[in-house]
Amino acid sequence: MKVDQTALKFNQASIILLLVLAFLLNAVWLVAFVAAVMVVGAVWPQAGLFKQLYARVLQPAGWLKPNVIDDDPKPHLFAQGLGGIFLVLSAAALWLGQPVVGWVLASVVIVLASINLFLGFCLGCFIYYQLGRIGIKPSLPSWQGGK
């Protein structure tokens, strides 16, 4: 299977940028929006908003160049789903008037996405591999053949 590394990096950069903006503007709706994009993108890979933006606008315009390599997309989708769950909890905490809990949860996603973007270490993928070692292979029907 193939994975476009540029699409992954654009996805991570978009998540970081929007969550930092959400923190600066104290915009809970923006956290919820990013959470929704991440969860939808993890459950249904072809519907990922940032990936669509990359594939339909940035790549055709020549602003970003694809870097397609042999890779298994499942760990990346699992990692995104995990991040999405964190953000759903973050948005819920913020709405329930728990700003510290909410922003700490969001900052976990920002930090992990930054480590993935700048250092190339994907904690969600690492957890996916560790689960695989004990016989748990998280997967969804929509992940088969998805990028």
């Binding site: 390599i69 760990p75 250092l119 270490f121």
Partner: protein
């Protein structure tokens, strides 16, 4: 909002500080490892004489199979380097010596089996080539 900018600035500064400390710790660790001539846990087929890459992987590591292994094959086509594939689970003692935290991890050794670099995660061909090539020249001298 200025308060939030300040928090963000402090968080970024803290992250950069942690990163700098981590790099410093890595450099010191590498220096102390270079003082050990040959780790006792090194497999017997790893012999001195030419640059060597210890390639830590696991049987179910997809990133290793799809990305790191082809890169190491390309590296061997470019330079005279020995690549030893090691299971990080089975070789836990050796993995501990080099501080292996994830797979794939590549440990580049010079011809005297002293570590030159420890790369955590998938390492591109250019980076590995840059680490191995100087030791190859050293070996040819």
């Amino acid at each position: 909002m200025s308060e939030r900018f300040a928090i963000l600035a402090v968080a970024i500064a803290a992250a950069l500080l942690i990163y700098a400390l981590w790099k410093l710790w890595q450099r010191r660790r590498l220096r102390s490892l270079r003082e050990v001539t040959k780790p006792v846990h090194l497999p017997p087929d790893v012999t001195a004489g030419k640059p060597t890459v210890l390639y830590f992987t696991t049987s179910d590591c997809a990133q290793c199979r799809y990305q790191q292994t082809p890169i190491l094959t390309q590296l061997q086509a470019r330079v005279d380097v020995a690549v030893h594939r090691l299971d990080a689970i089975e070789q836990q003692a050796l993995a501990k010596v080099y501080g292996i935290m994830t797979v794939p991890t590549t440990v580049v050794l010079d011809p005297e089996l002293r570590p030159v670099a420890i790369n955590h995660g998938v390492t591109p061909l250019q980076k590995l080539h840059g680490q191995v090539a100087p030791t190859t020249q050293f070996a040819n001298q």
